[in-house]
Symmetry: C2
Subunit: 213 residues, 2 copies
């Protein structure tokens, strides 16, 4: 599989969502500049990104919205079902589960883990919840390679260590503490408190110029 940058992957995912929205609104064709305006990037950027996936549209009437969405899917989506493990079913974990369920046919949260006796051994939003102490074994047996960490800060590192030992290769970390992982593991840090503090700061200090970011 070609090595494509994080930013390109993020934009392709965004283009697909925008295309799917257009299609839901009855739009059948779109020019690169239209897609670019919706995605807040340049039309040249859109064309470069679509070259990465080997797609070339019809220049006279624009891209076929459905076909392009499918082509992005072939590139981006798991060729077979890819399962995600969710560690922690507190408020945030449950929101993530409910929000993501059914969004992508080949990408699903297939196992969740918690310590709470009222949650374990039940289905929550259609996903089984297992006791945390069985996480390593279950993740390994199911061959899960991607995980979401939604546990408190104090246990996030221990949970990440267990997941890495069980074969997980990429994670999203929602716990408010950065994770230390081996170099072959990819971690995306997503911390809501930091994000809110940052955004609140910019409301007081005024918006930064683009080039001083």
């Amino acid at each position: 599989m070609p090595q494509v940058s994080e930013r390109t992957i993020g934009r392709l995912s965004l283009y697909r969502r925008l295309l799917d929205e257009m299609r839901a609104g009855g739009v059948m064709y779109a020019y690169s500049h239209q897609l670019a305006a919706m995605a807040a990037v340049s039309a040249a950027q859109v064309r470069r990104d679509l070259m990465v996936i080997g797609y070339s549209g019809s220049p006279s009437r624009g891209y076929d919205v459905w076909q392009l969405s499918q082509s992005i899917g072939v590139f981006l989506d798991a060729p077979v079902k890819q399962g995600i493990a969710l560690a922690g079913l507190g408020n945030l974990g449950r929101a993530i589960l409910s929000y993501f369920t059914g969004r992508r046919p080949n990408l699903a949260i297939v196992a969740s883990f918690d310590n709470d006796a009222r949650k374990v051994n039940r289905f929550i939003h259609g996903c089984p919840c297992y006791p945390s102490d069985q996480m390593g074994r279950i993740v390994e047996e199911m061959g899960i390679q991607t995980a979401i960490i939604a546990v408190p800060a104090g246990s996030a590192q221990a949970v990440a260590d267990q997941l890495v030992r069980a074969g997980v290769k990429s994670m999203v970390n929602f716990a408010p503490t950065p994770l230390r992982v081996p170099p072959h593991v990819y971690v995306e840090e997503t911390d809501i408190t930091t994000t809110l503090e940052k955004v609140a700061y910019f409301a007081r200090s005024g918006r930064l110029m683009e080039d001083s970011k």
Copy 2:
């Protein structure tokens, strides 16, 4: 107020959380290299960031954990209470509200907005929920300058437009569609579907080299 970059603000917020965790664990002093290791940055970076806030620690026994956390707070926190508006009280909105409530003394979600008759004119996690059609008026009257967008993609732009007209200067957007805002408004895009797709992709294709990001 000095113009400090997004990344610096993000790191300062992170240092404070780590310092508060250390303090909760009984640690009173920390060297820059210890803080650096926990934050996954270099010790030189920590020292540069602390110079931004005008802090210089005791070199022999390290930084005073409590004092440094307070100093970061003076720099980062709103000098007076700063209110945040939350548009949308679905699963994600409620999770954000419950997660963030009480985290920061001077930063709080003070008003939330939804269309659901079962939610409006009630307190949810201690925060009043108002009808969406009163959002502009209430945000303006309360002088709120920061907002969280947790509404469906289809209404996110209209909600953002209303908030900007009401005086909002910075936003976090959780809706899966990018927002168009005037140049003086700061938007942080946080889309869980994109994040999960990206992370899942990297589990299949292998981790990127740091320099090809």
